[in-house]
Point group: C2
């Protein structure tokens, strides 16, 4: 009656070996424990709102039946988007919505011994499927219509994922959509891309995302919103006062932008279920909205985010924001094994309110996003992040945790101590580019046309710089450039820090957002 | 000039192999980068506040000198507590304050090849030293005057640490203080405990905690507080307006209890340094106080806490609080490898404000404490924890994260849905004890005098229970007891949940706080 759909990719990957681990509850348990009757294999085919009843059909017998209700809760979830192209019904082409789907993929793997797979779609499920198919020994190609995987991230933040996937042997075919799937006699399938590219595959996974499953609600005349989800109030009540709706099928407000959104995630769905139950039971609690906190693990990399992305803010018409980039180690640098977390923090440049954060790295990534998510929940500002008091021992964090550092950088921007320049604007500026790394680092690679004066020589050589021209300063990740900007500002130069340093430049360049 | 003192135990353990990794900055770097002159090997011996100058002594030449100041910052730190017993000066007896101390221990290990060690003190440094000496192959005994290690935790929360240490081969000698240390010719040292017990040791570590190093400040007539630290305002200014003090040497307010405290932790010390600098530079920022967020790793176990403990609240005279215990997996149970986190949440029973949390487990422990610490920073309530939106994928968390669950349990207590009973009160109650686990679990061990009616039979067998007597219900960890309490309450019984279930009972019993 209830299964762990977030576990399906891992069941395919054989990380979860026993299908029964995915089963959360049974009708027997619900009856014994709660006196609640659960009908499985029973489809609700229509809702008669006037009479307060639903027409159901028992799927095995085909028997129709009527059930009465005082209060009705709709939790139909979301359905995988099926692209309108030929070949999606061929044997060997799968979606990943339920246990039978996953069982089908497992069985295809064990019986056909496929060697290659194409995953269509580079979102959460697509990447989890890529990981788990790679784990099963298949050569995997991800076909993605956007120029990046993980559309929820800003493009430059997806670059470390691209690099990691490629390093781990997953091929990326970006910027190209699905045109059709063809069957070759004796030679498996071919995924044909919109560009004409032909990707051979013994197994194809369709992971183009999901859309709210609102057929029943729409047929019953319930209000459907602009984003395609069932419209509900903060009690999860639909346009019919006797009907509630929860989960992936509903539209809910985004707490950062204030706009309605559909967000197919389990955490908010759980909270919605509780709010609807309280509402039906006559207790007034309210669903506070969603903030899109999410994480995905892919072949050892962790990608997490909360709140809005930069492109999400622009889409929502928000422009008074600022961002900082940083690349701190996941724990103190003096303790061996620290791995960088690539972090982007977005905040209001009016009052410092935190608007969103994205992080990519190997360890401790989702911890930092959870902390920032909690701060967002309270309407917190970057000042709160700067003075957060978090766990520190050298194997777990740092006296200045990445979260503190993000807050401090943002404070420096807000209070004018450290003006930042945007790598995106590199093509449109007449500013002097100043690289303050040591000559060896500069020689290993630098931004075209940059002047190199190492921080260690800046106090004696700053006279070489123009006083009447913007100076955009960068180093490896931003710390030395900060010192340089402070010094130059005190000397009267017009200096800004190219946030995130050369590391962010490379990502922005590879994402095509910097020249 | 600056070293990573939190890394010292790991340098002893050879996790950090190169001493230079512990050095954070050099006088040369500070001069080159900031034009700041740093005098090392130079002791300030007195402060002349009238003249605005300090008397310093160069330690190598013995040369005295005077330095003038406009603003003076004292950051002397804390010094290890040296017990007033005989033998602490013997060769082979060490404290762990600085690099020479650690170097001495390393050299003792490599030259004397010690086989046994006694660590006196079971706090943060004591446990980190126990781990690192065990890592070097020594048989370690921890001698601790209290009946528990980690005095900052409530006793029942320290029990999993005791179990883990013992399992990992570290011997615990609790409830016994240090009387003396003796040298045996040719046979190393003997640590004599107050009980008369004699613990052989080839190496002894004194880790009895630290106290603010306030000699210089006291001699200068600066105000010293009741907790032994330098008194400062929220600008970190001492009783002399030209002198600031920061770090382990100062007293600061605890944000939960409002009382002054000394808290030798690096995170707050860092924040204090920034506040003092801003104050001297004429910017008005304020130090917001401390919340005692801390973590320690010991042989694979992680122990973390934030805010007040139950005993800390009682010591502060706070009584209107409540606690819940839970033992959730660190990630979704259907994904293999979930390990329990033992979690205790303390909250106001008036308004639900979060007062503190303690957690012990193997994975994801400090993440949950960091989230709760962030909520405490905002004055958050258990309701906020219940509706926190945190990262969820099955390898990272759960749709209802342990933090959400802790908040939900506390909500159930606050709104009366789930009255809780306290294991501490087990000896003083006439309540009926009801064990709702299955008969096999009951047979494997149960609380004395408990009646067993499994949850699965409760709806048919509840008539066996008295309606006129308190019923205290427990199961394994508390979830089935919750269902039982809800059902019994709806039937008119006076039922309460023994929070944390049998797992918490065993810990409370082993800690001596339950009969």
């Amino acid at each position: 009656m209830s299964f762990a759909n977030c576990g399906l990719p891992f069941y395919v990957g054989d990380v979860i070996e026993d299908e029964r681990a995915l089963l959360m509850a049974s009708p027997e348990l619900f009856w014994q424990r709660f006196s609640i009757r659960v009908f499985t294999n029973t489809e609700v085919v229509s809702i008669d709102r006037q009479r307060g009843q639903v027409a159901v059909q028992e799927l095995e017998s085909g028997q129709p039946r009527i059930e009465r209700y005082d209060s009705l809760v709709l939790a139909p979830g979301a359905a995988p988007i099926r692209p309108r192209v030929t070949g999606t019904g061929l044997a060997g082409v799968f979606s990943v919505r339920n246990i039978p789907d996953s069982r089908g993929i497992r069985s295809w793997i064990s019986s056909r011994n496929p060697r290659t797979a194409v995953v269509v779609g580079g979102g959460f499920i697509g990447l989890e499927m890529a990981e788990n198919l790679a784990r099963r020994g298949l050569a995997v190609t991800v076909l993605e219509k956007l120029p990046q995987v993980m559309a929820s991230l800003d493009p430059e933040m997806a670059v470390p994922i691209h690099t990691h996937l490629t390093t781990e042997g997953v091929a990326l075919h970006l910027n190209d959509g699905l045109a059709s799937i063809q069957e070759l006699p004796e030679r498996g399938l071919v995924v044909v891309a919109e560009s004409g590219a032909r990707l051979q595959a013994d197994l194809v996974i369709l992971a183009l995302g999901v859309k709210p499953d609102v057929g029943l609600a729409r047929d019953a005349g319930l209000a459907i919103g602009a984003r395609g989800g069932i419209v509900v109030d903060d009690q999860m009540r639909t346009s019919d006062p006797h009907i509630w709706a929860v989960g992936d099928a509903v539209e809910v407000p985004d707490v950062v932008t204030g706009q309605e959104t559909v967000l197919p995630l389990a955490g908010p769905a759980n909270r919605q279920g509780r709010v609807a139950a309280e509402s039906i039971a006559g207790r007034r609690t309210a669903f506070r909205g969603v903030q899109a906190t999410a994480v995905v693990g892919v072949l050892g990399l962790t990608v997490a985010s909360t709140g809005a992305s930069e492109k999400g803010l622009r889409r929502a018409g928000v422009s008074n924001f600022q961002s900082v980039y940083l690349h701190p180690g996941h724990h103190a640098g003096y303790y061996p094994g620290a791995k960088p977390i690539h972090l982007k923090l977005l905040f209001s440049n009016i009052d410092g309110r935190i608007l969103g954060a994205q992080a990519v790295g190997c360890e401790g990534v989702e911890k930092r996003i959870d902390v920032i998510a909690t701060a967002i929940q309270f309407g917190g500002t970057v000042h709160h992040l700067a003075e957060a008091e978090l766990c520190y021992a050298p194997q777990f964090g740092a006296a200045k945790d990445p979260v503190n550092l993000a807050g401090m950088l943002a404070q420096n921007v807000l209070n004018g101590d450290m003006p930042v320049a945007d790598w995106h604007a590199l093509g449109d500026t007449s500013a002097l580019l100043l690289d303050v790394r040591e000559p060896g680092e500069f020689a290993d690679g630098h931004v075209p046309n940059a002047l190199n004066i190492p921080l260690s020589q800046l106090r004696i050589r700053h006279g070489e710089l123009p006083v009447d021209r913007d100076i955009w300063v960068y180093c490896g990740v931003g710390q030395r450039a900060y010192y340089a900007v402070r010094f130059l500002a005190q000397c009267g130069y017009r200096a800004s820090n190219l946030s995130g340093g050369y590391a962010t430049y490379l990502a922005a360049r590879d994402a095509g957002v910097a020249p």
